[in-house]
């Protein structure tokens, strides 16, 4: 199955929830990102129960605290 993560297509062997996808995409801690699924920001407690399907669009929005 194919989903789109940060604008890029990725192939997955089957349905997967957001939690394991973070690990797969090498996000070390879930607290490092906000996750948007098909335009909606997910709450952190939804990560493990939200199963992704073919064509889903996922955005990892990374915290970026720099500026000085």
């Amino acid at each position: 199955m194919e989903i789109i993560v940060n604008g890029k297509k990725i192939q997955l062997p089957g349905p997967i929830s957001v939690g394991p996808l973070l690990a797969l995409e090498q996000v070390r801690m879930p607290e490092m990102v906000s996750v948007e699924l098909n335009g909606r920001i997910l709450r952190r407690e939804e990560f493990d129960r939200t199963i992704l399907g073919t064509g889903d669009q996922v955005e990892f929005l990374y915290f970026m605290g720099g500026g000085a």
Binding site: E31, M64, G66, G67, A68
Partner: protein
């Protein structure tokens, strides 16, 4: 008040733009922009806003110029080492454009003073380097109904969004609360390429100018991300959240609050 001959010459390259013109230039000259953080983002923003003829520029920063700043904080020069950043930034702004009134705030922006500070301005630029300050500025601008530009940078990447309080998604709609301390590195730990701060700081200046001119198409309800390595700009749509703790229907944040993370992180600014 009409433009002087010197002003007509000085601003001629933007006066001929249909979206600016004489009336637009008057708007810029009567506009007030507050820049919080005279660092990597604040430097280019302040320089370009000064050159464009923004009438009042406020600069808030509690640090002194350090040698590690000079790689990217282009408003400060080698001769400014040890000088308060607000002083060296103000000197440079005045040197560029005597039309600009500069107001300096050489103290720590915190819950006790942020509301009063932002209320005095038409538009706020967040050029700070830590999450405590970024959330504080978001909350204060939302509560005081002041439009602002949020931005962050790290390594070869940056991101920004413009917030029109009550009308577009705020920083908390996307990033509900600061990440736990240590989860996300800062520029002192992970590094940042100077011109990346320049790109994002310039985009913030453009947002401020567009807002003052009343030009459509601000970076609202979208996060613009920039990655310098594959050279990629992406616009990610975001939305106002009904359950946002500060701009939602039933807000739990009704006053700005200080977090336990330092606002003016001396280490972080290096």
């Amino acid at each position: 008040m009409s433009l002087t001959e010197q002003q007509i010459l000085r601003y001629s390259r933007q006066l001929i733009l249909e979206q600016v013109g004489g009336r637009g230039q008057q708007r810029l000259l009567s506009g007030k922009v507050l820049i919080i953080g005279a660092g990597g983002l604040g430097s280019p923003a302040a320089l370009y806003l000064a050159a464009a003829g923004i009438g009042t520029i406020g600069i808030a920063d509690c640090d002194n110029v350090d040698i590690t700043n000079l790689q990217r904080q282009v408003i400060h020069h080698a001769e400014d080492l040890g000088r308060p950043k607000v002083e060296s930034a103000a000197a440079r702004i005045r040197a560029i454009n005597p039309d600009v009134r500069v107001r300096t705030y050489g103290f720590r922006v915190c819950a006790a003073n942020v509301m009063e500070l932002v209320r005095d301005y038409d538009f706020v630029i967040d050029g700070t380097d830590n999450f405590a300050a970024k959330f504080l500025i978001n909350d204060a601008c939302v509560l005081a109904n002041r439009p602002f530009s949020h931005a962050g940078i790290l390594r070869f990447e940056g991101q920004l969004m413009t917030i029109l309080p009550g009308r577009s998604a705020c920083y908390r709609c996307v990033f509900r609360q600061p990440p736990p301390a240590g989860a996300v590195p800062n520029c002192a730990q992970a590094g940042v390429l100077g011109p990346v701060a320049g790109v994002i700081g310039c985009l913030q200046a453009i947002e401020a100018i567009k807002f003052l001119l009343g030009i459509e198409g601000l970076l609202t309800d979208v996060i613009l991300t920039y990655n310098a390595l594959p050279v990629e700009f992406r616009k990610i749509p975001v939305h106002q959240m009904a359950d946002c703790p500060v701009c939602g229907k039933d807000p739990v944040i009704t006053a700005p609050m200080d977090s336990d993370q330092p606002i003016c992180d001396m280490e972080g600014s290096k």
